[in-house]
C-alpha cells in the first residue's frame, strides 16, 4: 500500500479499510479502479483552473458519490474520467493524470473511443435516442459492429433486466423510447450504458429530473449495479448520497475538501467546510 502512504495527508486510507471488512471478501478488496493524481483541469487553455490538484482513488465495485455546491466542478471531474471533455476545444488537463487500472487515460496511446466503452456515462437529463427501446439498448453494440440478432437480443434483455426495466417494457421493445416515463427513460439510459459492459458507470445527477418514486427505483438500481460495476455518482441530494454510496467526496470551488466513507463523512466530518455544507449552512 505504498501508494496510499504517499498520500497520507489526506484522510482517506483508514476509512477505506474500515468499510471493506463488511462486504464480501471474494473480490479484490480496496483495489483502486480509478486513480486521480493531482489533477488540474482548465476550460480555457490553462488560464484558470476549474479543477485544482485533485487526488482521489475510486475503489472497484463501490459506489462513490461526489457532492458539493453548484459549479464546484463535480461534472467536470466526472467528464474527465471518460474524456468527454475532449469535445471542448479549449479544455486542457493542466496538471496530473487519471489512471484506470494503473494506465494513464490521457496517455498518448489511449483511444478515447475504447476508453468510453470501459467508462460509461449516464447523464443528468435522460437522453434516449428517438428510436425504439430495443434500438436504444442495442446502440452501443451496433456501433461496435455487432450484427448477430441473437447476440443483440440477449444483450438487450440482459441489460434491461440489469436496469430493472425488463418487466415494464418487454412487451413493447419495438415502441419508441420517447413514450416511456421520465424514470423509465433514465433506467433505459442506464440499460443502454450497461449494455456495452463498461467497467465504470459515471452518473451525473441521474435522479435530478425524477419524482421521488422513480428516484427510489433508480437508487435501488444503483445499489444493485455495485455488484458488477464501479459507480461514480454526482448528486445534490445528501440523503441520496447516504443511501446509495459507500464513499463520498466533497468538493468546493474546484478542490477536493474531504473524501471518506459515506458514513464517516456524514456523521463525523473532519473538516469544518464539509460539516457546514452537509448541515446546510452554505452551498
Amino acid at each position: 500500500m505504498s501508494k496510499q502512504d504517499k498520500k497520507s495527508k489526506e484522510p482517506k486510507p483508514k476509512a477505506t479499510e474500515r468499510i471493506d471488512t463488511s462486504s464480501d471478501g471474494a473480490r479484490h478488496l480496496n483495489e483502486a479502479l480509478l486513480d486521480v493524481q493531482k489533477l488540474s483541469f482548465s476550460y480555457d487553455m490553462g488560464k484558470t483552473d476549474t479543477l485544482k490538484k485533485i487526488s482521489l482513488e475510486i475503489p472497484k465495485q463501490k459506489v462513490t458519490a461526489f457532492i458539493g455546491p453548484s459549479g464546484c466542478g463535480k461534472s467536470t471531474l466526472l467528464r474527465c474520467f471518460n474524456r468527454m471533455n475532449d469535445t471542448i476545444p479549449t479544455a486542457r488537463i493542466t496538471h496530473g493524470n487519471v489512471k484506470i487500472m494503473g494506465a494513464d487515460i490521457y496517455g498518448p496511446k489511449v483511444d478515447p473511443i475504447r476508453l468510453r466503452k470501459q467508462v460509461g456515462m449516464v447523464f443528468q437529463k435522460s437522453n434516449p435516442f428517438p428510436k425504439s427501446i430495443y434500438e436504444n439498448v442495442a446502440f452501443g453494440l451496433r456501433i461496435a459492429g455487432e450484427r448477430k440478432k441473437s447476440v443483440l437480443d440477449e444483450a438487450v434483455e440482459k441489460s434491461l433486466k440489469g436496469a430493472a426495466l425488463w418487466d415494464e417494457v418487454k412487451d413493447r421493445l419495438g415502441e419508441s423510447a420517447l413514450g416511456l416515463s421520465g424514470g423509465q427513460q433514465q433506467r433505459l439510459c442506464i440499460a443502454r450504458t450497461i449494455a456495452v459492459e463498461p467497467e465504470v458507470i459515471l452518473m451525473d445527477e441521474p435522479c435530478s429530473a425524477l419524482d421521488p418514486i422513480a428516484t427510489a427505483v433508480v437508487e435501488e438500481l444503483i445499489t444493485k449495479l455495485r455488484e458488477d460495476f464501479t459507480v461514480v455518482i454526482v448528486t445534490h441530494n445528501m440523503q441520496q448520497a447516504t443511501r446509495v454510496s459507500d464513499h463520498t467526496a466533497f468538493f468546493y470551488l474546484g478542490e477536493l475538501i474531504e473524501y471518506d466513507t459515506t458514513q464517516q463523512l456524514f456523521t463525523n466530518p473532519s473538516i469544518k467546510q464539509t460539516e457546514d455544507y452537509i448541515s446546510g449552512r452554505f452551498g
Binding site: P89, R116, F123, N127, F129, P130, T193
Partner: protein
C-alpha cells in the same frame, strides 16, 4: 386613486393612432398578396381552362393568328399553319399576326426548370450538407472559420446577376472539361486511351481542357447551386444545431466515434429539417432568371433531350449536360420582354406565370407541411 377613472375621451388618442398605423401596414401585405396572386389567377385561369392539359404537355411553338376570307378567326401552331396553307393555297389571310414561343404549351421550359433544379439539388445539397456538418460538428472557433462564416453571409447578399456573370466566366468559359476532339490552346492534359476504352468511348484520346462547359444546363445548374449554397448551409447548420446535444453525448459516451455519432445520432434527426429548409431555398433560386440567362437558358422550342447528335452513350450524356435548355423563368422573360408584344402573346404570358406560380406554391406548401409533420413525429 381617482386618476384611474379620469380617462379623457378626446377622440383618437395617440395609442389608437399607432395601433391603426400598424394595422394598415399589416393590411398592406394582404393587399399586395391579393393584387399579385389575384391578378395572376384572374388572368391565367381562363387560359388554362381554354388550353387544358395541352398547355403543360406541349412545347412552345410559333403562333399564327388571322381571319380567313369567311371571317373566321384562326389560332394555329406552325404545323397547323402549314397544313392550312397547303389546304388553302391561295386563301386570304386578314390581319395576320405571328409570335414566336407563344403557341403550344410550356412542356419544354417546365422540363428544363426541373432538370436545372435537379442539378442544383445534387450539387448544392452535397456540398451544403458536407460544409454544414463540418462547420457545426468539427470546426473549432478561429479566424479562418469566422472568415468562412462571413463569406457565407456575404454570398447570400450577392445580387443574382453577379452570380450569373460569375457562372458565365467560370462554368461556361473556364472550368476544365473532358473532350475527345482536339481542343483549342486551353488543353492542360491529354491521355491516349487503352483499346477497350477507346472502343467503349469511340475516341482515341481524351483531353482535359480548360474551355468551360459552354452555355449549358450543367453550367446553369451549378450557378444556381452557388447561389443557394449560403441559404442551404445556413439552413442545414440550424437543423444540426436543433439536434439535442444529449444525442451526441450519449452516442460518444457509448463508444461511438465522432463520425459514427454524426452518421447515426445527428444527421438522421437533422436531415428532414435540412431537406425541407433547403427546398424553400431551391425554390427561390429556381425562379431566378438572371443567373441562368448568361449560363444556359435560351429561348427554344426543342425539348432538352431532343436532337442529341452524339451516337456513343458517354458522349451523348456529356452532350446532354453541355447543352442549353429553356427554363420557365426565362421563357416568361422571353415572351414578355424579348419578342414583339402583341395581344396574341398575352395568353402565353398569363398561363406560364400562373403555372409557374402554382408549381412553386405547391412545392413550398408541401415542404412546409412535411416539416410540420416531421417535427411532430421527431419530437424530443
Amino acid at each position: 386613486m381617482s386618476q384611474i377613472f379620469d380617462k379623457q375621451s378626446k377622440g383618437i388618442d395617440s395609442e389608437q393612432l399607432v395601433t391603426w398605423l400598424l394595422r394598415i401596414a399589416t393590411y398592406l401585405i394582404i393587399l399586395a398578396f391579393v393584387l399579385i396572386i389575384g391578378r395572376i389567377i384572374v388572368r391565367g385561369a381562363p387560359v388554362l381552362a381554354k388550353e387544358g392539359i395541352s398547355f403543360i404537355t406541349q412545347s412552345p411553338d410559333i403562333l399564327y393568328c388571322f381571319y380567313d376570307q369567311d371571317g373566321k378567326y384562326h389560332r394555329l401552331g406552325s404545323q397547323e399553319y402549314r397544313d392550312f396553307k397547303t389546304a388553302n393555297p391561295d386563301g386570304l389571310k386578314l390581319y395576320e399576326l405571328s409570335a414566336n414561343y407563344s403557341g403550344g404549351g410550356i412542356f419544354g421550359p417546365l422540363m428544363g426548370t426541373l432538370i436545372l433544379i435537379g442539378i442544383c439539388i445534387v450539387f448544392a445539397m452535397t456540398i451544403g450538407i458536407a460544409a454544414s456538418v463540418f462547420l457545426s460538428e468539427y470546426s473549432k472557433r478561429g479566424p479562418l472559420i469566422r472568415m468562412i462564416r462571413l463569406a457565407i453571409i456575404n454570398l447570400a447578399g450577392v445580387p443574382s446577376v453577379v452570380f450569373g456573370l460569375f457562372g458565365f466566366a467560370f462554368f461556361c468559359y473556364f472550368i476544365p472539361v473532358i473532350t475527345k476532339t482536339t481542343p483549342v490552346e486551353r488543353s492542360i492534359f491529354f491521355t491516349q486511351l487503352p483499346d477497350w476504352m477507346a472502343s467503349l468511348l469511340g475516341a482515341e484520346q481524351l483531353y482535359l481542357s480548360c474551355q468551360g462547359w459552354g452555355s449549358s444546363i450543367l453550367a446553369a445548374g451549378c450557378t444556381l447551386a452557388c447561389m443557394v449554397l449560403p441559404i442551404i448551409i445556413t439552413a442545414c447548420e440550424e437543423s444540426l444545431r436543433a439536434v439535442p446535444q444529449g444525442f451526441r453525448d450519449a452516442s460518444l459516451s457509448l463508444g461511438a466515434t465522432q463520425w459514427q455519432t454524426i452518421g447515426k445520432s445527428v444527421l438522421p434527426y437533422a436531415l428532414p429539417g435540412m431537406l425541407t429548409a433547403s427546398v424553400l431555398g431551391l425554390l427561390r433560386v429556381s425562379g431566378e432568371t438572371a443567373p441562368i440567362m448568361y449560363t444556359g437558358a435560351f429561348a427554344q422550342c426543342q425539348l432538352p433531350w431532343e436532337g442529341l447528335r452524339e451516337e456513343n452513350w458517354f458522349w451523348r450524356i456529356t452532350e446532354f449536360f453541355q447543352r442549353g435548355c429553356e427554363a420557365l423563368p426565362y421563357h416568361i422573360y422571353s415572351v414578355s420582354a424579348k419578342i414583339p408584344q402583341t395581344e396574341i402573346v398575352r395568353p402565353m404570358q398569363d398561363g406560364s406565370v400562373l403555372v409557374f406560380m402554382l408549381i412553386m406554391l405547391a412545392l413550398a406548401t408541401t415542404s412546409v407541411v412535411l416539416r410540420i409533420r416531421i417535427r411532430k413525429k421527431l419530437k424530443w
